[in-house]
Symmetry: C2
Subunit: 338 residues, 2 copies
């Protein structure tokens, strides 16, 4: 199992070994591997490798727990590992890797379905804002929101993407800009503070971005800054769509208040750090607030694009996510505790 080190992009393409769960945990914490769906799949493969090396049940369960704790906000990670432990209980250690492979294939399919459903919403010539990175670097497939935008471009919709850089970790400026370049999608890079001006100027007709965890009422957690984009979109009447696979929906969270928000280290905000180099510009002792995610209430969503449906604000308010999770192919509601 090798993963592309996303802290080094776009400067270098460096692959890291991920066959050991404790190494994978370090990669997840360092954001070398990121994106809620991809974290789940990557962690699943590392647990699969671990089981194949002949470790016993106690060691497997302990590694599983450590993996789940590596990223508390992303629910896909917990589900991926829970599914593997269920498979292990039923069929023994080899089932752990089989389950990882199945999850990988599923994620590719989920991305295809989201890309199709999302692209159908996009009109000719739209300017579309996205935040953070929700592309092939965040999933096993073509991506969630970014997959939609790439598909719309390939379908000849003539879109223009506005990429906000996504401070403090700059996933937009580094990763989304790099992916859109590679796919030949026209884009413009902006700072996070510029999106409201472009909305006022009528240059942004739609917002599409990912989700790290979706509560049952449609509230969702995503990269810090998402809530501000949602507020600006609502103020300007710009349609706003999170794009996420079913695996991102957490039946244990009734509302966004139930989603834990990870806080990260102060030095990230005092400067910029990554494979591209390291700089600090703020006073070294400046007190900092640095939540990795924020929660956007469902009331600000125009519609949510899932792999198996597009849900309007009204449908979300009426509890439609419950019905979607009940559809065939959804493994996520089984109750396991890691």
């Amino acid at each position: 199992v090798e993963i592309l080190d996303q802290t080094r992009l776009p400067r270098e393409e460096v692959w890291l070994d991920g066959s050991d769960p404790d190494h994978m945990i370090q990669h997840i914490k360092a954001l070398s591997v990121r994106g809620a769906p991809l974290i789940g799949v990557a962690a699943a493969f590392s647990l699969g490798c671990f089981a194949q090396r002949g470790h016993g049940e106690t060691a497997i369960r302990s590694a599983a727990r450590r993996l789940v704790d590596a990223r508390p906000t992303a629910v896909n990670l917990r589900y991926a590992i829970e599914r593997q432990l269920l498979a292990f209980d039923r069929s023994g250690p080899d089932a752990i890797m089989r389950e990882a492979i199945a999850q990988f294939q599923e994620d590719v399919e989920l991305c295809e379905n989201m890309a199709q459903r999302g692209a159908a919403l996009i009109h000719e010539g739209e300017g579309i804002l996205t935040h953070c990175n929700s592309g092939g670097l965040a999933t096993a497939g073509v991506g969630t929101a970014l997959g939609v935008l790439i598909r719309a471009h390939q379908l000849g919709r003539g879109i223009q993407v506005f990429v906000d850089e996504t401070r403090p970790l700059l996933q937009g400026g580094r990763l989304t800009a790099w992916e859109l370049s590679r796919h030949g999608v026209p884009f413009t890079l902006i700072t996070d503070s510029m999106a409201p001006v472009l909305m006022r100027q009528g240059r942004i007709q739609r917002v599409m971005l990912g989700a790290d965890r979706v509560a049952m009422n449609g509230d969702f957690a995503n990269k810090i800054g998402t809530y501000g984009v949602a507020v600006a979109a609502a103020y300007h009447g710009v349609p706003f769509h999170p794009v996420a696979p079913r695996s991102t929906v957490d039946p244990h969270c009734a509302t966004g208040d139930d989603i834990p928000i990870e806080e990260r280290e102060a030095h990230e905000v005092r400067g910029a750090h990554g494979g591209f180099g390291s700089l600090s510009w703020a006073p070294a002792d400046a007190p900092v607030f640095n939540p990795a995610f924020d929660v956007t209430p469902a009331s600000l969503i125009t519609s949510m694009v899932l792999d198996n449906g597009v849900l309007s604000r009204e449908a979300l308010a009426a509890g439609a996510l419950r019905n979607l999770l009940d559809q065939p192919g959804t493994h996520r509601r089984e109750s396991v505790h890691v």
Copy 2:
């Protein structure tokens, strides 16, 4: 005339010679000297030095024009130079430096008046968001919005300031954080994308920030990102106050549409550059949108704090800025063309 190089702060305190207008123009363009009021005063001193060196009228008028063109959005610069040329017409070359000294003293007084009027609006224990830098580094005196916050702290109001870093040039993270540290004002540094979350959490009770140019209807230009802060404040019902001296009001601009907005170079958004170092993280050919300022409509202002009055949204809409400019001590409406 020496100016503190603001691109080197907070790492180093380096003073630059500003007695030659063409050097001063370079300092203004490089943002070594910045802040609408300070740019005006600094440019005025450089023209004063130039005149004292015995240059003739043609050379003085030519230097004056080049200085005015150095920063199109900041109107204080144009007024400062226009006043000097009027003084020159009346009293000859020595009047140019006398006028610079008078402007410096005036700016100190204007700041005092704003600090008093603004601090009177602030309640005990408030969390107050500010954007960019509007302190002693932006004026000859204690500052505009930041002067208000420092005064409120000195008066024992127990405020907590939230400083957004202000991408791309990081005046908040570098300069405002440094000034607040020096004055012992409690603050928290955040990225620009975090302010809406803090408003939603009820941790920000007020927004105070500067203005680079104010139109007669109350619309104002300020550092890029101000408009987004205004939208978020309006959405959350948080009072929003630009703080500016009369010299920032431009009688030639009926509305914000008349304010020219300078666009800056793409590399600023592709990375971070300054006296603290230089880094690029985005693809080197990423297309960029980089306006230095944006315009906030008067309809989003709760009240505007000027040195000689506090004007509510309703007063602004009723044309109160016209009356304020008619008050004694306002030199700004004389019609000169540089």
